[in-house]
């Protein structure tokens, strides 16, 4: 097996037994471990190799006899083997099997994730700094808008009524089939402050108050969007809308933003939703849909880039230009 792996490409260490293997793994932290599975006890051996120091991220390639039982293979995989080869095998087969994890390792390192050998490249929103720090991020921009600082604490405010006024803004990641929803929930004190300070009229109408809360949600969404952009993530912002607070707090990320002098409190809530993209005819395009890929003219000129949110204007224009036989992938309107 050692001879099958080119010395100028791989650093190979060969050991004769389990004890030496565990010691070598602990010392060298190899990326790939190739091991022969004994006639009995293969599953236990795998577990011990997997459990050894520096072994958690190693790719385990098991070499089995020519006709192993399906149950045995299943047990090996359950125990932590990533791939297996049957004896006898050609050198080139070992080389090919060892190459495979290399690409995965390079990818996982490039995205700074633990090596999980997961073929899915789905974004882990929870790993974004901008998402984890959403409360502070929003508080900063809203504070700028409001002319005052908010005191930010994690968690749902203690006295928020279930029927509090709520506005939310959807933010789409069409390529990842995810939608983030950022909501602001205002208690009575926050609403009074909003009327008096932002609108300049303590007797401002409910419609005006809702509009102002929607604009606060819009500002909050903008803060998240710009922060995510700095992390290389481009969100497509939707239009802020009135929402209900009855589903909160629930299993959502939330913060309390307290106004000065106990004047009131805004709750900031972040939700992550899976939204499957749809393939539709251009004739079915509608306002609010988000393109999952570029649209180009016949000459190759970019008409609308991927990630664009369609308005009625652009939806009608594309439908007329592309015709019903042109199919597109879109994230559905939020």
């Amino acid at each position: 097996m050692v001879r099958a792996l080119p010395q100028d490409t791989y650093r190979v260490e060969a050991v004769a037994d389990e004890t030496a293997a565990l010691a070598a793994i602990a010392r060298e932290a190899p990326q790939v471990v190739v091991f022969s599975v004994p006639p009995k006890g293969g599953q236990d051996l795998t577990r011990r190799l997997r459990g050894g120091a520096n072994a958690a991220e190693a790719y385990l390639l098991a070499v089995v006899e020519a006709t192993p039982a399906n149950k045995e293979l299943s047990n090996l995989i359950t125990a932590g083997v990533h791939d297996f080869m049957r004896r006898p095998f050609a050198d080139v087969e070992l080389l090919e099997r060892v190459k495979a994890p290399e690409r995965l390792l390079r990818w996982s390192r490039s995205v700074s994730k633990p090596c999980a050998f997961d073929f899915s490249a789905a974004l882990d929103v929870g790993s974004l700094r901008s998402w984890r720090n959403l409360g502070s991020l929003v508080a900063e921009d809203l504070g700028e808008m409001a002319g005052q600082a908010f005191a930010v604490t994690p968690g749902w405010p203690t006295h928020h009524p279930a029927d509090a006024l709520c506005a939310s803004i959807p933010m789409s990641l069409a390529g990842d089939q995810l939608e983030l929803r950022l909501s602001l929930v205002a208690d009575a004190g926050a609403l009074a402050w909003l009327r008096a300070t932002l609108l300049g009229d303590p007797a401002a109408s409910d419609d005006a108050a809702r509009d102002a809360l929607r604009e606060l949600a819009n500002t909050a969404g903008g803060a998240l969007k710009r922060a995510a952009l700095a992390e290389g993530i481009t969100l497509t912002t939707g239009i802020p809308r009135d929402d209900t607070a009855s589903r909160f707090p629930g299993k959502h990320l939330c913060w309390s933003l307290k106004l000065e002098a106990g004047a009131g409190c805004l709750a900031v809530v972040g939700e992550i939703r899976n939204r499957s993209n749809e393939r539709i005819s251009a004739a079915q395009l509608a306002e609010g849909m988000i393109l999952a890929h570029d649209i180009r003219s016949e000459g190759g000129v970019l008409i609308v880039p991927a990630g664009s949110r369609l308005t009625a204007t652009s939806a009608n224009r594309l439908a007329a230009m592309l015709g019903p036989r042109y199919f597109l992938e879109v994230a559905p309107a939020a």
Binding site: V92, W107, N277, F327
Partner: protein, 179 residues
């Protein structure tokens, strides 16, 4: 561990690596799971090739072509996934190649390699062959449920090419920019 780079070009190897990932993701999104088959890689699909779609691309210091090759069974499966009777085979294959390069574009943008894409050109017929490209080029072959597909990425880099270091920072709240 030194990386294996058949072309000797780490930038090309990075592009090929991303291409493999986006191909798997794209077809999975249409319930057409595919598996990369490194053992089959060589000179494309061979005589089974029934359709090819090619799209040119150009970036700063790099240009090339992405070719998507498919067997007849693959093309028919994609046509069905793309809309059945309303979508013919040439359209479907072209569309998939467009979506494939579009996804690759997104990945490369994050790597500091922004590219612009041309429109796909698709041909169908028995025994299609394509000329060898200058510059870096490699095939990747995939196996789907009862069919095969291949992607060939060609890239010619200008001397001294390197990915862009950082993207321009986004504007901040309160910024006022006059052009």
């Amino acid at each position: 561990m030194k990386s294996i780079s058949p072309t000797g070009n780490p930038h090309f190897e990075l592009m090929a690596h991303h291409l493999m990932n986006v191909a798997i993701e794209l077809f999975a999104a249409y319930d057409l799971p595919i598996e990369h088959c490194p053992a089959l890689e060589g000179k494309g699909l061979g005589p089974e090739t029934y359709c090819m779609s090619s799209i040119g691309y150009v970036g700063r210091g790099v240009r090339g072509v992405l070719i998507l090759a498919a067997t007849r069974a693959a093309a028919e499966a994609w046509t069905s996934a793309a809309g059945g009777m309303d979508c013919d085979l040439v359209d479907a294959v072209g569309e998939f190649s467009n979506m494939l390069l579009g996804r690759l574009k997104g990945r490369l943008l994050r790597e500091g390699i922004p590219i612009s894409l041309a429109t796909p050109m698709t041909v169908i017929g028995d025994g299609l062959r394509i000329s060898v490209a200058p510059g870096a080029s490699s095939w990747q072959l995939f196996e789907g449920p009862g069919w095969h597909l291949g992607t060939r990425l060609d890239a010619a880099f200008e001397p001294g090419f390197k990915p862009e270091q950082t993207q321009a920072a986004p504007a901040e709240a309160g910024d006022a920019i006059l052009f």
